[in-house]
């Protein structure tokens, strides 16, 4: 254990450099640069508000503040899928380095998730703007209470979850490239399974099995907790907290285990 920590300490600069590189290169050559982390969620949320709030004309009146509700879900979903997809491809994309130089391989999925997390945290400023705007200029303002300050809890669990899933996907991807396409489909499914633009109770699901499946989605617990903090101003549901945290921890144990079991074989497959 001590050996691993020592090794991680030695390569902390590499982690820093790769995180830096990912963030810098993501927006290089675009005119607006890093401003896109802010602009992209803003614009896509407007699209979703127009589509699901107006065109389809759903009855969203019972949701406290629909634009904020949507943005919370969208930000969390987007971070989760982007970071896990990047982590999944990271080992294969770094093949030229891994084949020639010794580096601890977990640095790559880790750095990709962390880099995405940093842009995610920056993009939370859009949410801050939304909250401030709707707090003052809306008949349906978000309920801001002391619970607001618990918002780091769900997003830290989210980071943990993305790391674990990222490690598992990175390992799988080395041996079976097909997982990239399968995961793409899974992400689409996840988009509809996670209450991003709807509320589960609105669906009036009668089948307990479907209901259970929707509840089993850890992103559901995380988005609900996040909304409790920044939108409803309510206490976190302890069931959600325990479930999401437990799920994330189990996924991490599995992720680290499969990664360590297989990392010496990576070089033979990439």
């Amino acid at each position: 254990m001590k050996k691993y920590l020592k090794n991680f300490y030695k390569y902390r600069f590499l982690l820093y450099e790769i995180v830096r590189k990912n963030i810098k290169l993501q927006y290089r050559d675009s005119v607006l640069g890093i401003f896109w982390t802010f602009l992209q969620p803003l614009l896509t949320t407007i699209v979703l508000v127009v589509v699901f709030g107006h065109i389809f004309g759903r009855n969203n009146a019972e949701i406290v503040n629909y634009p904020i509700y949507l943005l919370c879900g969208r930000l969390i979903y987007e971070f989760f899928t982007q970071s896990t997809k990047r982590a999944m491809r990271s080992i294969r994309l770094s093949a030229s380095v891994i084949k020639k130089v010794y580096v601890p391989k977990y640095i790559y999925p880790l750095a990709n998730v962390v880099a995405n997390y940093i842009t995610f945290v920056i993009s939370l400023s859009v949410l801050a703007c939304f909250i401030i705007y709707f707090f003052f200029f809306s008949g349906n303002p978000p309920h801001l209470t002391g619970w607001f300050f618990l918002f780091p809890v769900p997003i830290l669990i989210l980071l943990l979850l993305a790391l674990g899933i990222g490690m598992i996907l990175a390992t799988l991807e080395v041996f079976f490239k097909d997982i990239e396409y399968l995961y793409e489909v899974f992400c689409l499914l996840l988009f509809y399974m996670t209450p991003i633009f709807y509320q589960i109770k609105q669906l009036k699901i009668t089948s307990p099995i479907v209901n259970r499946i929707l509840m089993a989605n850890p992103l559901y617990s995380i988005t609900e907790m996040f909304r409790c903090c920044v939108l409803y101003g309510r206490a976190l549901n302890p069931h959600h907290l325990l479930y999401a945290l437990g799920f994330a921890l189990v996924v991490n144990v599995i992720g680290v285990w499969v990664f360590y079991k297989n990392q010496d074989k990576f070089i033979l497959h990439i």
């Binding site: 600069f13 790769i18 290169l25 020639k100 130089v101 070089i267 497959h269």
Partner: protein, 248 residues
Amino acid sequence: MGTPAIVVDNVSILFNLNKEKVDNLKEYFIKLVTHKLHFTEFWALKNISFTVEKGERVGVLGFNGAGKSTLLKTIAGVLKPTEGSVRVSGVIAPMLELGAGFDMNYSGKENIFLYGATMGYSRKFIEEKYDEIVAFSELQDFIEVPVKNYSSGMRARLGFAIATAVEPEILILDEVLSVGDAKFRKKSEAKIRSMFEKGITVLFVSHSTEQVLNICNKAILLDHGRLIAQGSAQDICAQYNEMVNSKK
């Protein structure tokens, strides 16, 4: 002499050579079900043992496919030996392929820090060496240009400059001195020679006995994954030349 720099203890490496590369699920299952997953066992290295003392400069000779690069990769820690063990004491700078750690979209300057970090050095440390690296690589005018626009010679120069500037204790050179123009080759040989005085340990792979004699004082000879001879550079080079001639 103290502790030796590199101890290779009875190292063997086994590769499973699939007849075809299987990397998607469908193929894998079809082959698994129809029992067509054939692996051919191939020992790339077999029972290799040798010791390199600090300050020794060892040439690694052998024909294509003799296992030279596999051996160096094992010492660099990229490959794990199937059997046996490798112990290395000291900071190792692998130059298996110059510029392997570069990101093509990154500028030369940014790549210096990235490559430095790949070898485990801090940004601060590389900053101190930065001017030296740029000066040695002679890339002052191109340092802000993305590396994808570099020629292979420029990339090699930058890679060489970084790997030698950090003053490693063990240098692994895999045919890297054959890149670049004659002028840079001379310069890099001189640079390596100046590092000898600081007691650097060198592992050097080359097909040119001339270069090996120039740089090394000891040598080992590999053939089909086995260590067939070790000794002074002169003796081993003579034996290698004999092998070359007898194969003709």
